[in-house]
Symmetry: C2
Subunit: 271 residues, 2 copies
């Protein structure tokens, strides 16, 4: 998102109103205050206007899905795809717990294994060419059941799986709260980071779902816990803490998207 913010207007603590830049795509004039204020979470001022860059809707897109036996294989395919230079529009990784949640919430019967979902965009020929290249990469990493669709309704139906993932996760334990955390590591470390994290998550008595923006090296974990049980909250915090430290030890960040707030302030100094 932040790459699509051209400039913004903010009210500073002393009441001054600043506009951070022109509407030009690039500028070497003065400090990049736009990026400084984005993500500053209100500590520098209150954002009151944002100028966004518009993107052309792609003329064509393909949505694809593929199953894997291990989360490592799935992450390896995401890494290999990005490193191949293919300009994939979206690559999302859902672990087997997440797929189970989707099956339960929507009466589906998807194989409950780590799954990758892709979107390829461009001209019709190019979107299809990319799809077939990634199908080949997936096959090289034990991917199975690679399917892709081009028809609008079929694409919408397939993406629904990903779009409703969060709500399906919540629905697994309606009386529970969710601790939602995210970390991000260099892409080359993603498979290792998810694998190490999954070992701990799978061994925990809590139900934990993993969903990753795998092309960015970024993944989210939804940790479901009973808010009336203090030990469950502590267990959720222990898992969160472990994942953050694992990511930091791999030259990653304690949060890729969600921000710091009060929950992750304690990790900033180390990072």
């Amino acid at each position: 998102m932040r790459d699509n913010v051209i400039n913004l207007q903010a009210v500073l603590p002393d009441g001054d109103v600043v506009k951070t830049g022109s509407r030009a795509r690039k500028s070497a004039a003065g400090y990049d205050l736009t990026r400084l204020i984005i993500g500053s979470e209100g500590t520098l001022g209150v954002i009151t206007e944002v100028t966004l860059r518009l993107q052309k809707l792609p003329s064509h897109s393909v949505v694809a899905m593929c199953n894997f036996q291990t989360v490592k294989d799935a992450a390896d395919v995401a890494i290999a795809t990005m490193h191949s230079g293919i300009q994939v529009s979206r690559v999302e990784l859902l672990d087997e717990v997440q797929i189970r949640a989707i099956n339960m919430a929507n009466g589906k019967s998807l194989p409950e294994v780590p799954t990758l979902m892709f979107e390829f965009i461009g001209t019709e020929a190019y979107a299809l060419e990319q799809t077939l290249l990634v199908q080949k990469i997936a096959a090289e990493h034990h991917g199975s059941d690679f399917v892709f669709v081009e028809e609008p309704n079929a694409k919408e139906e397939l993406w629904k799986i990903r779009k409703e993932a969060l709500w399906a996760g919540f629905a697994m334990k309606p009386d529970h709260e969710a601790m939602i955390t995210d970390v991000c590591v260099p892409l080359s470390r993603l498979a290792e980071c998810i694998s190490v994290s999954k070992q701990l998550l799978d061994a925990s008595p809590l139900t934990c779902l993993v969903i990753a923006h795998a092309g960015d090296g970024n993944f989210h974990t939804i940790i479901l816990f009973d808010p009336t049980q203090e030990e469950e909250r502590r267990e959720a915090e222990r898992l969160n803490h472990f994942m953050v430290h694992t990511a930091l030890s791999m030259e990653g960040t304690c949060t890729g998207e969600h921000g710091v707030g009060t929950g992750k302030m304690k990790y900033l100094e180390k990072e």
Copy 2:
């Protein structure tokens, strides 16, 4: 370039050494100090280390060139190309004076008219598909003599025209100095901004060459003047001043790439 900087290390005025971020592709942890320090021209600290994002070399590329009767037509094609969603890797605009300089310096006989040069990258099929789409756009805006090459030596030979443009410009008047300026405007205003600027440049007694990174809305002007003639220096400054104000009036910036230094400090407040 700045989009490819993942993090950096800088020495602050008090001697503190800071590292601005992790190696993750994205982060929501704390202020974006990387972007704040890039382009700060030494006012915040001295950059001592930079971590760059590597890009995969494209498997194929095509280089193309096309002539136009007016700089407005050429700029309109650059705008239409970018707005079409085609992911052009490079689109460079050279005005007729710049082409004359290249002919003089290299014994070439290129038509001395506004010229666009393109690079398309991707798979072989996709690079060619983009080329043909842009050929069509160029034809719709009175483009002529559209040529494209795919063979490595031929590509290198064609890009040489663009690569040696600056030196060819200097060679036009070896005893002169060059005032090199750059502005950047929203892409939709590029044709108008270059056209208005060209009217003034062409009417000036000084020799002025225009070369644009047209896909960004960014253009450079090389103004050649005799440093022993104070009035020529003043005329160069007048032209520079006019272009900056034209760009600012179009919600652009006084410098897209070159930076502020001491020469453009006076424009920062207005911008």
